[in-house]
Symmetry: C2
Subunit: 434 residues, 2 copies
């Protein structure tokens, strides 16, 4: 007897059908915005993450030495991989580059509700535009994906922040500050006690009084206050950029889903501009549902031409998004569906197989007996797979050149000439012969 590994899940057909519906909706939305599908490796060199992602991810890496002596890691996120791909074909790719893909990632974290060691994301990124319209298009895609899944403005909230506002404010303090550490503290602030948060801020180089002042500044609704406090072009530009992104989001029809929230920071080191996280408005799902943001320096740090970038990555399986959809009552209730069960009575396999084959050629889902079972057992199985129509091919009927078409829901049935079935009908049901 074998078990699956802790933090990894098997998906059986009924559950998978619901998740497939979610994935299809998110991917269809990405396609409607002109994002194009890519596929990417499950393994990368470990140093990609050690050098680019920051300690939060590196601690949780599944890394090992392969048979060739390479230090490799199971990809914990997609961004370094797509950055590598952009650099590799930089000259050939028309800008803006707009890519999406859905696949699993792996992090050795402690499993909890909505968090697994293997989780699936649909990553959606734009490379090559520094304009606020690119940030807003990412917000618009994400909001459309959620509304297409059945959520509305009462259900979710994008908390929007700006890394350069956070960095510019920290820079304005008269202190030697580890900016990355301070931003990581902000990212953790909602998940930890206030005392621990202040410890992290003071560890990063702020005095306790400065930490209090910083925390007060982050709570403001008045972006002008931040510009005034810092008195630097950096903060003024960042505030202007954040406002421009929210203005574009207004034109794109998704401003209503966005809330200014400077306490939102994102955990990864490479973000540079607007960042955001999606939260359950009701708060029943307590952690962030997913997030994204701008990372303008990453491509250059990979050895490429300077290339601005912005992206988002909804978690579509083994993540908090299914919890939010369930909480909001819009989780897809998918059942197995089958167009036809072709039932054999006696030695009628050649005719049953011909009918099954022709129905499949029309694109129908068709099962037939592969277990040499009795009439009753076949009918039970047809029921268990929710077959809409049973085509009964019996020896006696065939002597009269007929088969029986049975509506499985009503139980009504009709005899039909075998030679002309299914003919060019495409998807014949009981009603066509009644």
């Amino acid at each position: 007897m074998y078990d699956g590994i802790k933090g990894f899940r098997d998906f059986y057909p009924a559950e998978m059908a619901a998740h497939r519906e979610v994935i299809d909706t998110v991917e269809d939305t990405a396609q409607q915005y002109g994002f194009r599908e890519i596929a990417t490796p499950a393994l990368e060199e470990t140093r990609l993450y050690v050098e680019k992602s920051g300690e939060e991810i590196v601690e949780d890496l599944y890394s090992f030495e392969d048979q060739g002596g390479r230090d490799v890691a199971l990809t914990p996120e997609l961004t370094p991989t797509v950055a590598r791909m952009v650099v590799a074909k930089q000259q050939a790719l028309a800008k803006p580059i707009k890519w999406y893909s859905t696949r699993p990632f792996w992090r050795y974290e402690e499993p909890q509700q909505g968090r697994f060691r293997e989780f699936y994301q649909t990553n959606v990124d734009i490379f090559g535009s520094e304009e606020p319209e690119a940030d807003a298009e990412i917000l618009a895609f994400a909001a459309d994906a959620l509304t297409n899944l059945g959520l509305d403005a009462e259900d979710f909230d994008f908390r929007v922040s700006h890394r350069d506002i956070l960095g510019g404010l920290l820079e304005a303090f008269d202190a030697d500050i580890d900016t990355r550490a301070a931003i990581r503290a902000v990212d953790k602030s909602e998940k930890i006690e206030e005392a621990e948060y202040y410890d992290l801020l003071t560890d990063s180089g702020l005095s306790y009084e400065q930490a209090e002042q910083f925390d007060d500044l982050l709570a403001t609704d008045d972006l002008g206050e931040l510009t005034d406090f810092a008195g630097t072009d950096r903060v003024a530009d960042a505030v202007e950029n954040l406002q421009a992104v929210l203005d574009a989001a207004e034109d794109f029809g998704v401003r209503e889903y966005c809330t200014l929230s400077l306490e939102t920071a994102r955990g990864l080191d490479y973000y540079t501009g607007v960042v955001f996280e999606c939260f359950d408005s009701v708060g029943e799902v307590s952690r962030a549902v997913f997030g994204g943001g701008r990372y303008d320096d990453l491509i250059e740090s990979f050895g490429g031409q300077p290339t601005p970038a912005v992206g988002v990555a909804p978690g579509v399986m083994n993540s908090t998004l299914p919890l939010l959809l369930q909480r909001a009552g819009v989780w897809p209730e998918e059942e197995l569906s089958t167009d036809y069960y072709v039932l054999q009575v006696g030695d009628t396999r050649p005719v049953a197989a011909r009918i099954a084959r022709e129905l499949r050629q029309e694109g129908n889902v068709v099962e037939t007996d592969v277990s040499d079972r009795s009439f009753g057992a076949q009918l039970d199985y047809a029921d268990s797979i929710n077959a809409e129509t049973a085509i009964i091919v019996g020896e006696r009927d065939l002597e009269d050149d007929e088969i029986t078409v049975k509506d499985m829901a009503s139980g009504e049935q009709v005899q039909v000439p075998v030679d002309s079935f299914p003919g060019d009908r495409g998807r014949p049901t009981y009603d066509d012969f009644d």
Copy 2:
């Protein structure tokens, strides 16, 4: 500068679109047979493969110890995982269980043409039927998938064999034979020199003369000769079963793709009955394209109720199937396609965004400017993404309450009232207004 890892590939949009077409075709075919999608973990306990798959796979495992001290491996194949899943829910699952899934697997092999260390398979399995119709349905699915991809009987050949014929023949020799080793020798016979093949057979326990006789028997077209040679029920039953599978394949319309070939053995240890491999009929793709077969003992060896099983796994990416499709001239030539580019001239973002949004809501693929570019640069980009229609939203046109609908292929364009565009047209093009 970072590189991907040897044996792993990045798929950019144009190449991915062709592979997606292949995957969709294979999955649609599986769905038409009533196979249901599942999803499975990328990691399993290493012992699953050590104990079940045989040495060929174990040598190539990506295995390591995780942070919790577990010996884990990147899944090199799906069969042990689905066997584990069947055992876990054995009572709840209606038989026959028919599952499919498409995902990557990993083996540390030497990369060569059509072989990578990361490769994608669509696994298709039936659990719970020992009848020849189940084997034949797997053959029929595989043949239909290939013909739906555009191949025909001149292009590919399923070489069909039977593990129990091989095992029964070996048993009939007066010798102490390591059957698994002898069957692995048969599996390798096409890839190695004859002398090495005979060395492997004699290492397994056959004398040189017995090895010659065994090799002669495998070359026969006359299954009766094998029954006569062995004189055992085991071989007689196996021959009868193989014939019954081929008869069912005849009824299912795929007998023409099958050739009797006892020299085919498959490398994995767990096969028990009919096995087959798909080959390029022309021989330009020299290795097997994919294979499958019956493994009736695996579920029981996992601690489950005895449950017969049969399956196949076409490799859909990073595999030999794309080589065969290219060789036969049926590789899908997919280009990026875009329904609309909404072009902004001047400060027209609110209107352009409204139009883009409404066109997307109808399911269209719509891009618009996110890079603050000139008219010419936007038009070049619209060309680069093969936009069918450009909607030009210009400041001056808007003063007259008009926009321009431009057919990108012909260059023809027409002015249209902005207020009623797109309205309820769904997918309006130049021709609708001409």
